[in-house]
Symmetry: C2
Subunit: 215 residues, 2 copies
Amino acid sequence: MKVEKISELTTNRLSVYLRCLEELASEGAKTVSSRRLAKRFHLNSAQIRKDLACFGEFGVRGVGYYVGDLRSNIQRILGLDKEHRVAIIGAGRLGAALADYYGFTQTNFDVVALFDSDKEKIGGEIGDIRIFDIADFAAVSEGKKIDVVVIAVPAPFAQGVLEIVSAAGIRAVMNFAPIPLKVAKEIKLKTVDLTISLESLSYFLAQPGTPNGKE
Amino acid sequence: MKVEKISELTTNRLSVYLRCLEELASEGAKTVSSRRLAKRFHLNSAQIRKDLACFGEFGVRGVGYYVGDLRSNIQRILGLDKEHRVAIIGAGRLGAALADYYGFTQTNFDVVALFDSDKEKIGGEIGDIRIFDIADFAAVSEGKKIDVVVIAVPAPFAQGVLEIVSAAGIRAVMNFAPIPLKVAKEIKLKTVDLTISLESLSYFLAQPGTPNGKE
DNA sequence: ATTCATTTGCGCCATTTTTCACAAAAACGA
DNA sequence: TCGTTTTTGTGAAAAATGGCGCAAATGAAT
């Protein structure tokens, strides 16, 4: 087991492994080998073993990994054994779509509040999630014990929102605004930039000779 | 100028450069150096020069890059000088949110059709975009000259949708279903997996000692 | 008990990506 | 014209990531 710093590529793959293990568990599988896991996606089995070895020796030689055991280990490593309380800033269509997005509702992420600056929206509800005034973020955040924030506001407002939430002590932020944000390094910012993804598709159409990158 | 194969990391950065150049152009800047561009994000200036050098010699030594010139070159490289016609499969909340997402409306991507399998929704409209029956995809796709498809359906249906659209000759697909899809290599598939991003935030909260990966 | 078939963990090498460092080119002032 | 400053383009070094191959551990079969 290595104690060096873990690459984000590794933790991203852990998420993928976890989903696969949940599927295997529901199929009733007791053990699984790295080779079989590797075939599910298009990965190398050594990669999987190396990723897992970063955190301990979970496997048994000659056998493979115990599905339930590995699953709960990865859950613990990823911090998914604890509930996360999510606030979404921006109660527009994107915010509304995210509020009942499968990924939030089916997992340990619980969307407990929406925020907006539009007086028309404040006080309303989407699904059964209340919309608060962004000006009250710090107080509501503390009361509702929010630990993850999703920014779903137009690009020009994103930096301001980020400053409000980081001032309130939030340390994990997912940003959908297609703009590079400046952030203190104690805060983990993950930007999902759909524009980049789209333009990458456009590049592929324009330059069909280029070999397909691995996803 | 190198003619080797271009990494996806490079093309992703081109998107970022392009946005920055558009901002600079609207500020009236005539030229920009790689060093100044690098400061805008947290990048190394050599990286920027090398990315650009993949496609030609756009800069002038001692001066930098001409903003307007570089901008139109990157647009052309990314295929953004031509309009793209997008179909969104899945007229749920996510599909609806994407239909009027800034990235689509403000750029050369035009959402021209939605598809669903729910008879209740088919025939309706979101914004002013018509919802068609997914069973008619091939015909509608040809008529409307669709070249990019966005999959916004629940995970269990995603593989089936992918097969329908690829059979209809679509070559660029963006997928929001959190599931690994199998696809022929002539097709460019870009999966945006929000679950992975969320879980990566959770990992950061659980393991605060880990240094912050660069976004 | 011994052999055989598996499969992990890991050292080591290959490939990819990033960064450094500097010669060559351009602009400008004296 | 010539030196000074700036900034590109790129070869080479460094860092990060991925993949190979094998010793060691395990379980099953004989």
